[in-house]
Every structure is written in C-alpha cells, then in structure tokens.
C-alpha cells in the first residue's frame, strides 16, 4: 500500500510538472491580452511533433531538439499574436474564435505532414531510478519534473526581478494604466505570447517520448489546463502551479483507484464547485470577467 501511494505520488508529480508549464502559459496570455487561447493544447502538440520530426528522424541530440521545440513554438506564438490577437485585442470572443480557427489549421497541417496515426518517439533514456521493487521513477520523467522546476523558476525571476517582467505584470493588472506609464502594450503582448507558447511547446517536447503523440492530443491537455487555471484563479501564476499539483494528485489517485473517466468527472466537478463558491479561484484576487 505504501508502495502504491509512493508510486502514485511520483506519477502525479510528473503530471503536475508538464501541466503547470501549459497552464502557466495560458494564464500569462490571458492575463496580458485578455484572450482565451483555445489553441494552447495544439501548441503543446506542436512541441511534441518537433521532437517527432527532428529526434525520431535525424541525429540531433535530445536537449537540442527540446530547445528547438521551445524556440519554434514560441515563434508560432509570435505569429499568432501578430496576425490574430493584436487586431482582436478588444474583442475577447473574436480572439477565442480565431484561436479555434488556428487550432484547426495546426491540426490539419500536422495531420497532412505526419498522418493522423500515433507517431513513434524513441525514448531519450531507458534508465529507471528504483526506490524499491515497486516504486520506480523513469529518468525521462525526472527530466520533465526538473525542467519544469527550472523553467518556472526562471519565469518567476524574470517576472519579479527584471524590468520586462514588471512591465508584463503591470499590463496584466491594468493595460491602460501601464500604457500611460510608457509601457509598450504591443511589446508586452509579444513577450507574453512568446513565453506562453514556448512553455507549452517545451512541455510537449519533453513529454513526447512518454505519451501517445497524435494530432488530437491537445484536447485533453487544454481541458486539464482550463480546470487548473480556474481552480487556481484566472490571472494567478502561483495559483496555477499550486492548482496543477493538486489537480494532478487528485486525478492520478482517482485514476489509480477507480478509472480515468471518473477522474475527469471529479476534476470538472471541482472546477464547477470553485466557480460556484469562489469564481475568482482559490488564489485569484481581481475579477477579470
């Protein structure tokens, strides 16, 4: 029993790691631009396919591929900002629909390039850290956890310690007041979009060898990310991380002891409960509806 709980805990930690990377990006984009990026799950998918294209095919080292995935998906994010979200800044519903259109385009492009079937990604390492016979942590998963901690830590430093980070947080709080202080809204939007997309991309690239990679894999990721940002409080990065950890633990435990569908129902019910009792989320303060 102890073994089972320990193993479930490790599984949950891994799920929390990539989920918080996706959710934090989503929160950042929503905070700065006020747009719900429905294509965020597809950015995750795109990151995974960068690995399929470069790592499974060529001889590029894994960490280089992950870095390329980060940069490439970040640039796709810039493209989205430039073509859709900037012209639609004062039109949240329009931004949402445009991101749905973009999601369909990404899915179609990937399906055309790689086929709709599951893509095979060779594991980066087969090593396993065995705590006991039944409690094992594959090194591949440890890399995901470590990368999430490093990247989120770097993001936290960036937001709290640099002028760009202050500008970003200022425009997330009040766009007009920030603009009056001489902060370029276009620039902060670009930075937020690049970071948000890049985090989703790197999450996809890191988890690609561990999950089934297909053009529709973004769906379950975006649903989980929505639950996390609502429970954590829309606009709160710390809340998103804490909620991601909590959600991953609850979801993994329910999946282990009952089944996946029940776990999804529990997750959604929790989100609904938070929406009813405290719509600003457990850690959110401002009402941005």
């Amino acid at each position: 029993m102890i073994d089972l709980i320990a193993q479930t805990g490790l599984n949950a930690l891994y799920a929390a790691a990539y989920l918080s990377l996706v959710a934090v990006g989503l929160v950042l984009i929503f905070g700065v631009m006020g747009i719900v990026n429905f294509a965020h799950g597809e950015l995750f998918m795109l990151g995974a396919y960068v690995v399929v294209a470069l790592y499974a095919g060529g001889q590029v080292p894994y960490l280089a591929v992950v870095a390329i995935g980060l940069a490439f998906v970040g640039v796709v994010g810039l493209l989205m900002e430039w073509t859709m979200f900037r012209p639609l800044r004062d039109n949240p519903l329009g931004g949402l629909v445009a991101s749905i259109g973009f999601l369909m385009i990404l899915q179609a492009l990937v399906s055309m390039g790689f086929g709709v079937r599951m893509a095979h990604v060779p594991p980066f390492t087969q090593d396993v850290i065995a705590f006991s016979d039944r409690v094992r942590l594959p090194v591949q998963r440890l890399i995901v956890i470590g990368a999430a901690v490093v990247l989120l830590g770097a993001l936290w430093l960036f937001l709290k310690r640099t002028r760009f980070g202050w500008a970003l947080r200022a425009s997330a709080q009040d766009r007009e007041a920030a603009a009056l202080q001489g902060i370029s809204i276009n620039q902060t939007a670009r930075i937020a979009m690049f970071i948000g997309a890049a985090l989703a991309g790197v999450a996809g690239a890191l988890t690609a060898p561990l999950i089934s990679v297909n053009p529709h894999m973004g769906h379950s990721v975006i649903v989980a990310a929505f639950i996390v940002i609502i429970v954590g409080g829309v606009g709160s990065l710390e809340g998103a991380v804490i909620a991601a950890v909590a959600y991953a633990f609850i979801h993994t435990i329910v999946t282990t002891f009952w089944d996946g569908v029940i776990a999804d129902i529990v997750g959604l019910s929790l989100m609904l409960l938070v929406l009813i009792v405290k719509p600003t989320g457990l850690f959110g303060t401002a009402d941005r509806a």
């Binding site: 719900v36 859709m84 639609l88 039109n91 259109g101 369909m104 179609a108």
Partner: protein, 332 residues
C-alpha cells in the same frame, strides 16, 4: 402592397424549400436533413445569447434531448413524436437545474462553467453502460412511424420524407422563437443583455429572465437532438462533444448574432461551403485547414458577421425595431 409582396416572397421560399431535395444527390439530401436540424440548433443558441451569456454546453443539452427521447421510445415504448416532445422538455428541465449554479457566473466564467457542466453530463453517458450505453451509446432507436397523407407517402428512412417532417417542425419552432423574441419577454431579454443594471432598477429580475432564455433555448435544442436521434437511429457521447459545440459557436459568430437570421445564415453558408463546395472540389484533406482559415479571416475582416453584408445589400429590409437593436449593439 408590401405585405402582399412579403407573402409572395414567403410562398416562393416555401416552394423552393419543398422542391430543393429533388435536385440533390442522396448524400446531399442527408446533409440537407442535418442542416435543417442544425438551423434549429443554432437559432436556439441565439435565443440563449440574447441575454448576453455564451454557453459551451448547448450541444450537450441537445444531446440530453436526444438521449431522453431515445430512452423513452426504446425502453418505455412511448410514441416517437411524443417522445421527442418529452425529450425537449427533459432538456429544458435539466437546463433549469443547471441554471442555478451556472447563473451565479457571468461572462468568461459562465463560458467555462457551462463547458464543465456539459462535459460532466457527457462523461456520465460515457461512463454508465446502464442506461446510457457507455461509449457506444444507444443504438436501434425506433424511427418515426411511417404515414401516408395521400399526397405523399412518408417513409422516414428516406431522407426526402424526413426532410419534409423536419422542415415542418423546424419552421414552426423558428416561428415560435421569432414570436417569443418580438414579445415583451423577448424585448426584456435584450434589455437584460444591454442594460442589465437599468433593467434591474426598473424592476426586472435579470437572473429570472436569463434563466428563462436558457430554458427555452435548451428546450428547442433538445428537440433538435431528438429529431437527429430518431433519424440516425443511434446516439453516442462523441456526437455531442466540444468539437460539435465549436461548430455551433462558429456558425453563430460567422453569421452574426444581432439579427434573427444571422446565425441561420452562418450555419447554411458554412455547411454548404464545408460539405458541398470543399468536398466537391476535392479538398478532402485540407478541409479543416481552409475552414480554420475562413474562421480567422471572417473574425478579422467581417467582425459583425455575414448578416452585416445582408444589411448593406438590403438596407430597407431592416425594420425600425431591429435597427434600434442593432444601433444599441453598435453603441455598446
């Protein structure tokens, strides 16, 4: 004189709609049946958006109507048209229940909350084999019994017959929705959307009216679901997932929601484009790509929807009241 012309125009439209399926191929006739059902769905969605809230659970509510009608007719042997009405009522009742938690939220939170509520219902269908049939859903749903009216022998396996049936039901429902929107109740929906504080100050219970719009819209959506279920003969959780909801949302937004016909126009134009033009031109693989691109372009360059084009071509068609409503929306 003008009303005479309008009557002639309506008769012309009616004749065209009745003649329409005879010029189409079998698969196009089937698409026509689903298109007609979807017109009811998207029109009911507009009724919901009248009070200013956008739901992501509408297709699941449609599914509630479909599942309920299927279960009533299959397990309890209820006469199919009656089961359809009961299915619609069930959808309205479920919506009534959902409205208590959901209307504590507004805007973005309502959007996400309605998604969560709908997804929970959908996952319950998926999880529970009894009575919902699990992932495979319910099959062998009884069809509408055949009737012979003398002028036409209605065999409802045939898409033309079912199209006539659906056309009659949908036309009646559209007329009802039109009457509701023009009634004092419908005007209050608009008031709750554009001036909710003022409406409340004038003694209007905004939440009650939001609930009412939600329940009425859900009833019509449930009926659309029932119409679909008894034609296909099967329902399953996948046919009511978020992808279907995205289609409804895009019909409404590409068409525009300021007028009654906007979402219907969006539904017809996008369906014809997607199912007939793109498929006919051989863009089978790239269909979602082109569809996605069109979506983005229409949001960017036609933000008021296709209906704004109609307004430009036929400015005299707008009555003073719709013009007042559109004017209010432009100011908001």
């Amino acid at each position: 004189m003008r009303s005479g012309l309008a009557l002639l125009a309506w008769i012309g439209v009616g004749v065209a709609l009745i003649a329409l399926p005879h010029g189409l191929s079998f698969s196009q006739q089937e698409i026509l049946v689903f298109l007609t059902i979807n017109v009811l769905l998207v029109a009911s969605y507009r009724m919901l958006t009248l009070t200013g809230e956008w739901s992501l659970g509408h297709v699941v509510i449609m599914g509630v109507g479909a599942y309920a009608s299927a279960l009533y007719s299959k397990h309890f042997g209820v006469f199919v048209p009656a089961a359809m009405l009961l299915g619609a009522m069930t959808a309205a009742l479920i919506a009534m229940g959902l409205s208590y938690p959901l209307f504590r939220m507004k805007g973005f939170y309502f959007l996400i909350g309605s998604f969560a509520a709908g997804e929970i219902i959908r996952l319950l269908w998926k999880r529970f084999r009894e009575p919902f049939g699990g992932v495979k859903g319910i099959t062998g749903i009884p069809p509408v019994p055949d009737v012979n009216l003398g002028i036409w022998d209605f065999v409802f396996f045939d898409p033309i017959s079912y199209y006539y049936f659906v056309l009659a039901v949908v036309s009646f429902c559209l007329w009802l929705m039109w009457r509701i929107e023009r009634s004092p109740v419908g005007l209050t929906f608009h008031a709750v959307h554009w001036q909710d504080k003022l409406a409340e100050a004038a003694g209007v219970n905004a939440r009650a009216y939001r609930t009412l719009a939600f329940v009425i819209a859900s009833g019509f959506a449930g009926l659309a679901g029932a119409l679909q279920a008894h034609y296909i003969g099967a329902v399953n959780p996948t046919s009511f997932d978020i992808e279907q909801m995205v289609f409804v949302l895009t019909w409404a937004i590409v068409g525009g929601t300021a007028t009654f016909y906007g979402p219907i126009l969006g539904c017809i134009v996008l369906t014809v484009l997607n199912e007939i033009v793109l498929r006919g031109l051989g863009f089978e693989q790239t269909r979602p790509l082109i569809y996605g691109l069109l979506l983005i372009l229409s949001v960017l360059f036609l933000p008021k929807g296709l209906e704004s084009l109609v307004g430009r071509v036929l400015p005299r068609r707008a009555t003073s009241r719709t013009r007042a409503i559109i004017g209010a929306e432009e100011k908001a």
